[in-house]
């Protein structure tokens, strides 16, 4: 249940940014969560609901966008999406690949009033 720690970090950022922007109530949050991340969206939503009670983010909706795992081959520059957890280049077979996306855990924006 590391989602509790992640929800707390998220709430800290929301309270900080919300106050800085003169928002008294946060209505919704847009998050990006990479496919490779070990975060379970339902758990994150549950934990955030618990922790945000009594704060300006109480009742806020979490919109979670899953980001696919994309790699780039360092040998031939080919970009490919990873399926079946196969992290090697489908074009040249090289295992020297760089992760382009899939590890995200970001707050993109929020809506408030």
């Amino acid at each position: 249940m590391h989602e509790m720690a992640i929800a707390q970090n998220l709430l800290d950022i929301v309270i900080q940014e919300g106050s800085a922007h003169g928002v008294s109530r946060v209505l919704s949050l847009s998050l990006k969560v990479g496919e490779l991340s070990t975060v379970v969206p339902e758990s994150l939503i549950f934990c955030f609901e618990l922790l945000s009670k009594g704060t300006l983010a109480e009742g806020a909706r979490l919109d979670i966008e899953k980001v696919p795992t994309i790699c780039r081959c360092r040998e031939c520059d080919h970009e490919f999406s990873v399926t079946d957890l196969l992290f090697s280049c489908p074009k040249c077979g090289s295992g020297k690949v760089e992760l382009q996306s899939g590890r995200e855990l970001t707050l993109e924006s929020f809506e408030g009033e």
Binding site: E17, T38, F87
Partner: protein, 227 residues
């Protein structure tokens, strides 16, 4: 009226900033730091005991013991005569940078060459949290089966070294080490894999030599940086 505020911030940025601070402290002290991770019962504490016993006369070792509750492992380790700090996470499933930072007050970093952070036994949660380590080392034991890379891909991706433990049990368990190797390398082609048995000692010399070379590289780096 509702307003939309763009933010784009890494949710774990606070943890990662602290991890960088920890890492700076470690480098200043010329310390090589291993974040040791495994599922429960894979043999982390036993591996540590053997490692300390073998290397303590040539490498000054410190240990941070992460446990949800209890100090049983820390007591086992402290009997070996090395610096050890017990961290109880009080229910949390992983160690984070602030826990490690608080543990550092109890260690004489300048008197250490190697710090091993024994993470909480869990193959999911610790993979998300950097603590300021140089490398993540993952310990897997053969009774856990050969499908672990399929179930916990992130852990295998984040690790630099995979130790496959308890290979003395291979005749008795349903586990194909070549499958572990193949699946792990598909996830992380630069992963270094060593097969070991803490019971018979098989393969451990490879692990000790790897540690020796990492610690000595760090010492060279540190001296180089001072000049």
């Amino acid at each position: 009226m509702a307003v939309k505020v763009p933010v784009v911030r890494n949710i774990l940025e606070a943890n990662e900033q602290l991890a960088q601070e920890n890492s700076r402290l470690f480098r200043q002290a010329g310390l090589f730091v291993v974040n040791l991770m495994s599922g429960p019962g894979a043999g982390k504490t036993s591996l540590l005991e053997h490692t300390i016993e073998t290397l303590k006369d040539e490498i000054r070792i410190g240990v941070v013991e992460g446990d949800i509750q209890s100090s049983y492992d820390a007591e086992r380790i402290s009997q070996r005569g090395v610096q050890v700090v017990q961290l109880n996470t009080g229910g949390a499933c992983h160690l984070d940078s602030s826990m490690i930072k608080s543990a550092l007050n109890a260690l004489q970093l300048a008197e250490l060459d190697l710090l091993v952070i024994e993470n909480v036994g869990n193959l999911v949660c610790p993979a998300e949290f950097k603590v300021g380590e140089d490398v993540k080392v993952m310990l897997l034991s053969v009774p856990e089966g050969d499908d672990k890379p399929l179930k916990y891909p992130l852990m295998f991706q984040e690790a630099s070294v995979l130790l496959i433990n308890k290979i003395d049990l291979l005749p008795y368990v349903d586990c194909d080490v070549s499958k572990i190797r193949q699946r792990a390398l598909q996830l992380n082609s630069s992963l270094e894999i060593l097969e070991i048995s803490c019971r018979t000692g098989e393969g451990l010399s490879g692990w000790y030599n790897w540690l020796r070379s990492q610690v000595s590289n760090r010492k060279t780096d540190a001296t180089g940086a001072e000049i």
